[in-house]
Amino acid sequence: MACLYGNSIKAHISGLVSDVNTKDGAIWYKIQVEILDVYWFVERRYSDFEALNKKLVDSQGIPRDNVVLPPKKFIGNKDPEFVEKRRQQLDEYLKNVIQLLGQNPPEDLAQFLNLYDFEVIFMLRKLASEIFDKGEQILADQNAFTLSPYQIYAINERMKMPIPSLDSEDKRQDFSHIVEFCSRLQSLNIVGSNISLGSSTIVPNQYSMSLSIFKSIKFLSLKLINADKIAEVGTVRQTVERISIHNCDFQSMNQFLLCDSVYKTFAESGLSFSWNNVVSINCSNNTFESVGDIGDLVPSLRCIELSYNKLRNVFNLTSLPLLERVSYSGNVIASPEDLHLRFGNIVILDMSQNIVECLQPFYKLYSLVLLNLSCNKVSAVEQVKHVSFLPCLESLILTGNPVASSVDYRVKALSYFGNRASSLELDNEKANSTEMDQISIIQAIELAKRSTVQGKN
């Protein structure tokens, strides 16, 4: 963590004018700024040094004995020998400035060294004034606010530091504004990254977060977050209603729901780890191989989206009494076992883009209204018979299956539904009158066949 204050007094900035870099004809000096184990680069020209020096002269009583900016030179200032000499002089100058002012850098120096982008205290001052100006609008509109793990980590650490919440002249930079905003925010996006921040060595996903500062979150979205970096969930567990997790490296839903528990199952961790108000979970586009026994952890869940993971099986969600909508789209499920033993009274089931061949497992999902099986491997039209007795079914989608291109597919498939054939939507379309005529004929023939068989008996 880049922090000037806090747990270690050893924290200091060492600005080194290393490499001399020529771009657009001008001479740029590359400065390496270091705090503890972190460093970043800043590129500045002589004129930037000059501007900084002028501000410091006005505000900080520079020049002093050894803090003197090397003088300006108009002719021959790109001569390599001269540049090298100046580089050394500026290096000396910067070191002296930092020795003098580095403990508590004034705004101008902080800006010169890009502290506002990387250093905890300055970064949070900048965030505080942004929030002071825009926070109320965001809260009033109930818009989402995005933070990175590094920012949340910084806020957590700042809470522990013995520094006043307002440590600058500008009241907009008061840390209280951040904490207040976080405590009232309803919709939070946390977007991680495994790539280092700007020119620094700060990798946001290295930092672990406590969400305990957030007291009113209803919608929580995580993107590109490392599974082991959520150290504490806090009151979010009680307040959150909708969760979305994308492109994170969780292996299962349980791993997230119990991320701050030492136990890995509900049975061990107990009731206090339940997410009682969660009604919807969207965890598409992750690498889940398992859902886990989430039932007791999210007892109010109505909707779960598990699309585009690596799931091979349909998991047991029967302990979720309110579950209505489930999506397993885009996984690798081949032959699910009897699904009525996996779900309670679900209404919408999306199993598109899997490798299902057989519809037999669906035959007892009596509450099902919409079944989406597009882009699977169903090839025999007879399979439709298995779902034809589902009493509530209103829509069946089989597009993109081999069966959908077979001869008389619609007519044959619909004919299994008896007198409901006219009200059922197959592939988002009800039967037209021509199809209805054909269906009636097929059904009449079926009936005749059956009565002959019965007659013979």
């Binding site: 002071f132 100006d133 825009k134 109320e136 609008q137 809260l139 009033a140 509109d141 809470m159 522990k160 530091m161 013995p162 520094i163 006043p164 919440s165 307002l166 600058s168 002249e169 500008d170 009241k171 907009r172 008061d174 209280s176 504004h177 904490v179 207040e180 405590s183 009232r184 500062i213």
Partner: protein
């Protein structure tokens, strides 16, 4: 100056201090949530609460820092005194030791806050009158001698909780009105809402803030 999402005119910063277990977090919770929090965990470092109140027709946002009573967090909590417009010092009427420590809390508060900080003394747990260890009169005398406002309150029943927070705000507002509190001072603990364009114009705001208005309180 009205309109926009800003449903407040000022921000006042408060700090709540006092011995461990006197009910600081519970008082805050009762004030912000209007609920009693049983089994309140020990505060680690600092906690935070916020609520918008109305004083003399002005909407005021309170940003309240709730501090840990434990000695080991003293360094962190001390840093939050600076820049507080109001300080609530809490003791527990059923535990004399928490009352005996008041003078050290008060010294801290006086030394670390600004001279205009309104200090309010609250004797918490007034619902437990049967176990009383500190009389009302005694505490009232202490408060008067030290120029503090004082009530006995109960975070459990909510008695006097609202009053204590509002009284403090009223006193702060009065010192803004009579000009004794300089809004521009970094440590005043009072801030105006952002101006419409988000620009900094604290001095202009201040002139307006100092106008003696028709406040009837």
């Amino acid at each position: 100056m009205s309109g926009g999402p800003y449903n407040y005119s000022y921000i006042f910063k408060y700090i709540i201090i006092g011995d461990m277990g006197v009910g600081k977090s519970c008082l805050l919770h009762q004030f912000t949530e209007k609920k009693f929090m049983a089994d309140c965990p020990h505060t680690i470092g600092v906690e935070f609460g916020t609520r918008i109140i109305e004083v003399c027709g002005q909407k005021i946002k309170l940003q309240i820092w709730d501090t840990a009573g434990q000695e080991r967090f003293r360094a962190v909590t001390r840093s939050y005194y600076r820049g507080a417009a109001g300080a609530l010092i809490i003791y527990d009427i059923t535990r004399r030791s928490t009352y005996n420590h008041l003078s050290s809390w008060l010294t801290d508060a006086r030394n670390l806050t600004n001279p205009n900080t309104v200090i309010f003394l609250i004797g918490n747990k007034s619902d437990l009158d049967g176990q009383r260890d500190v009389t009302y009169e005694e505490a009232k005398k202490f408060a008067d001698e030290n120029g503090l406002k004082f009530v006995e309150a109960s975070a459990k029943t909510g008695e006097n909780v609202e009053e204590a927070f509002l009284e403090t705000a009223k006193k702060i507002y009065e010192s803004i009105q009579d000009g004794s509190l300089d809004l521009n001072a970094a440590e005043s603990g009072v801030q105006k809402k952002p101006t419409a364009n988000g620009a900094r114009s604290l001095s202009a705001d201040n002139a307006e803030g100092r106008n003696p208005s028709s406040c009837s309180c």
